[in-house]
């Protein structure tokens, strides 16, 4: 093997599909057939996973922290709701894309505010934008339904053929298909030169610029794309639950997302997916044990994760999950919990 083809081979090492990844998706698909009574929670997990993947794109790859990612989720949710309610676009897949694009426009417009400044500025700006939108949605209640939310949304069949059923089966497989397609796209992107340049910017923006990377333009691009993903997640929410209310913009939603990535890890795309599953499971388990105080236990788990440090958790408690992740991602997840990042 010549040196050049050897280099090519190694450069594509990360991009190749691993056995573990195929297994992961097969297990997810199998869940759709194994637990027919749990479609609603499983759909919820898929939506959260997609939403978390969106944050992972900017946090895990480009190093942009955000506490207001719900802004895009909310815009996607309301866009999908309004499109269906007023019969503007009846076909769900088209409406989904349109809702994603609406969020994308907002993402592009606000990216200019977000890319400048340091982490703290970014946290505040993103948080502010989400709060602003929530207030706007409340103010223009004639459009958004105010605190009552959008009511009476009736979803048309997917692609004109598959109707949403009351058990949520269609909703689950629809969400899974959307998640998988967007995952494939994200996977393609993060292994491209563009994706690699994002990691370079996250690692060292000074050097990134010094090899000719247009840093700002790349950050704007990924932020806009992440907004599209979050918008799609929001639209899925409206389409599969047939409601959209003010809480789609809620701070909790953005904060939960951070927690999902703290649990799952960032920078290998599966962090959001695995984190979403664990986060919702923990929520379920704790709320079964102590219906009133489940948040206490979730809080405790997170404090432990952050304080004990992922490094130590990796060697101890998380040995098995890590083995799994290594199978899936082919390397140890590059974890960037903002609190413990150096």
């Amino acid at each position: 093997m010549s040196a050049a083809s050897d280099v090519g081979h190694h450069a594509q090492r990360q991009a190749r599909w691993h056995f573990g990844e195929a297994a992961f998706w097969l297990v997810v698909l199998a869940c759709g057939f194994l637990f027919p009574s749990r479609y609603l929670i499983m759909t919820d997990i898929l939506r959260l996973a997609l939403f978390a993947m969106s944050l992972d794109l900017i946090l895990g790859y480009a190093g942009i922290v955000s506490l207001g990612h719900a802004a895009f989720f909310g815009v996607g949710a309301y866009a999908a709701g309004l499109l269906a309610l007023h019969g503007i676009i009846n076909e769900p897949v088209l409406a989904l894309i349109a809702a994603g694009l609406a969020a994308m426009v907002l993402g592009f417009a606000t990216s200019f505010l977000v890319i400048r400044g340091v982490d703290l500025t970014r946290l505040m700006v993103t948080l502010g934008i989400a709060l602003l939108l929530e207030a706007l949605a409340e103010r223009f209640s004639n459009v958004t339904g105010g605190t009552d939310g959008l009511q009476g949304i009736e979803m048309q069949p997917i692609l004109g053929a598959i109707p949403f059923d009351m058990f949520g089966k269609a909703g689950f497989f629809y969400s899974l298909a959307v998640l998988f397609v967007l995952f494939l796209l994200a996977r393609r992107i993060v292994h491209s030169p563009f994706g690699l340049s994002l990691r370079a910017i996250k690692n060292n923006p000074l050097r990134a610029a010094a090899i000719g990377i247009p840093v700002n333009r790349r950050l704007i691009a990924i932020y806009t794309l992440a907004a599209f993903y979050a918008g799609i997640a929001g639209a899925l929410f409206t389409q599969t639950t047939a409601i959209a209310s003010l809480d789609v913009f809620a701070f909790d939603r953005s904060a939960d997302l951070m927690l999902v990535l703290v649990i799952g890890g960032t920078g290998y795309l599966y962090g959001g997916l695995i984190g979403a599953v664990i986060f919702r499971m923990l929520q379920e388990v704790f709320s079964t044990i102590t219906p009133q105080y489940w948040q206490f236990w979730i809080g405790l788990v997170l404090v432990v994760i952050v304080l004990v440090g992922r490094q130590r958790l990796h060697y101890g408690v998380l040995f098995l999950p890590n083995l799994l992740i290594k199978q899936i991602a082919g390397r140890k997840a590059v974890v960037s919990v903002p609190e413990s990042d150096t």
Binding site: A3, G8, H10, F194, L196, A209, A210, G212
Partner: protein
């Protein structure tokens, strides 16, 4: 003779401090030009203005005759001005293969390519392989940069700058911090740069300066003290005074 890089009456102040004073430099095409001066003379500030990290208060910077004073950092790189840093500026999580691959991709205009995978372009791969072997990094190409020994990181620092195929290369203390045993590799690499690449070297190490440079500019307190061929500068009483003065203070 053509001028590769030129500054005209460059001025930079930080608050009330004038760190660059009316600096006019001309660096000839293909030159091995050294910029020396005692600590705090403002050498790195000059480099930062040349590369666009800092904006001068007034004055102009010309690259091959074109005014680049207002260009952002990355555009100057694409025009053929590349640099190394005094303290390594690398990507700790990335491998040498990825680091160099990215620099080559950016130069060839594939950096914004979001669909095609890294490693699928044979022209890029060929250049990466070539650079990795020239800089003795083939064995380490899949290691995370942060885990590499310092000397290797230093080689990578220079390799990244070369990957941009500069016509003008700014070397900011290339041998700084490199252990004696690995120094030879660095010096050999710097010495073997093609002659059509113009090099501006910032260096403390006088042995390196006098063995490498064919022209030397001496910077003191942000202003040009003198300029000339190495033997001329070495005999200059003003330069001696500056360096002896500094030595005396250091002792």
């Amino acid at each position: 003779m053509t001028i590769a890089l030129e500054t005209q009456n460059l001025e930079k102040t930080f608050g009330g401090l004038r760190v660059t004073r009316d600096l006019s430099l001309k660096i000839e095409q293909g030159a091995r030009h050294a910029l020396i001066g005692p600590n705090g003379a403002g050498k790195t500030t000059v480099i930062n203005q040349l590369t666009g990290v800092l904006k001068p208060n007034s004055g102009r910077i010309l690259l091959e005759g074109h005014d680049i004073t207002d260009l952002p950092v990355h555009k100057r790189v694409l025009r053929g001005l590349s640099r190394t840093f005094q303290i390594n500026q690398l990507y700790p999580d990335l491998t040498p293969l990825e680091t160099i691959g990215l620099a080559v991709s950016e130069r060839l205009g594939h950096g914004g390519d979001w669909w095609r995978r890294m490693g699928t372009r044979s022209d890029v791969n060929g250049e990466i392989a070539d650079l990795l072997s020239r800089f003795h990094l083939l064995d380490a190409m899949n290691e995370q940069t942060v885990t590499l020994p310092y000397g290797k990181q230093r080689l990578l620092e220079i390799a990244v700058a070369i990957a941009a195929k500069p016509r003008v290369l700014l070397l900011d203390e290339p041998a700084a911090g490199v252990p004696e045993s690995e120094r030879h590799d660095i010096l050999a690499v710097v010495g073997s740069l093609p002659r059509d690449v113009t090099v501006l070297l910032i260096e403390h190490d006088m042995d390196l300066v006098f063995s490498f440079a064919d022209r030397i500019s001496v910077l003191v307190s942000g202003a040009l003290l003198t300029e000339g061929a190495p033997e001329q500068v070495a005999r200059d009483p003003q330069v001696k005074a500056v360096y002896l003065g500094e030595e005396a203070v250091n002792v």
